[in-house]
Symmetry: C2
Subunit: 191 residues, 2 copies
Amino acid sequence: MGFLSILGQTHKLIQERVKQGDIVIDATVGNGNDTLFLKKLVGDNGVVCGFDVQITAIENTVKRFSDAGISLEHVHLIKNSHDKMLEVLPPSMHEKVSAIMFNLGYLPGGDHKKITQQETTIRALQHSLLFLEKDGIITIVVYSGHPGGKKEADAVLTWVQNLPQQYYQVLSYQFLNQKNNPPFLIAILKR
Amino acid sequence: MGFLSILGQTHKLIQERVKQGDIVIDATVGNGNDTLFLKKLVGDNGVVCGFDVQITAIENTVKRFSDAGISLEHVHLIKNSHDKMLEVLPPSMHEKVSAIMFNLGYLPGGDHKKITQQETTIRALQHSLLFLEKDGIITIVVYSGHPGGKKEADAVLTWVQNLPQQYYQVLSYQFLNQKNNPPFLIAILKR
């Protein structure tokens, strides 16, 4: 039995902490895989807010839900940058969100020039903390193989290393002997 | 629910892969905690070989088993360096061991001058690979806060990063925002 993959470990950490009726955020909708995963966890009465700057991502996700036969009720797909979540989401959601998922890099199968950027990523992560409830989790899967990816990864690592230990637990889960900059996982838990 | 601690994650990865009757190695017996943990997993018919250069470690472990009411039958406590395992253990054990546990650093509560050393550590790790069966696991908990600890940790990281991906999966599990060089886990799985 191999070790859990980055995706497997990410979903496991989320699954252990998200329950029916929860409010959650997919900060990088992409092809909607995590959005759908989250919706299944929170169920009919749960709320999923999904951000993506690319209309393709939103369209793919609508199709993804339709193909899976899952209703988009209480799924809010927001065509905007995740660094606007503080402006877009209501203050009533502050400290009420049990999970926030980030995939940093580019939309798989999409335009590789449209990548997440260091400044907006760090701002989005910083603002995410305001939405997180006690025992809530942020997962960040970092792809760093593309141009600028290493710089963004380093910025994220520096940012998480400075999160105060008394309020946040920060875990990394990573494969060490894979070539070509494989993705790695950072998970933040609010105490 | 917090993330699994380094010890918790180490034991989880071992537990998922070691079964009754297995042959296992505790490469750094220390106070015998992992030795006892392993013995409970392999049971009456399983074999545990434990290495430690310090007689205190061996004595503590004998007492630890006695206190726990667990028999030392099929538990071989070897007062020698783990880098001698190739000489000490029989060739019949090659590719027959399902788990090998290392704790790098010093014996908790013991002489802090007696630390594991880069050269013997790497040799012991290299030789461990010969004993590991398919799907077998090596766990390495790295304490690096003591003098020389950082150098040893770097040597281990370089060594694992160069293990061929087609034969070994190498995972790291680490907390990123803790002060004072907390321990981290490296786990190697033989494919």
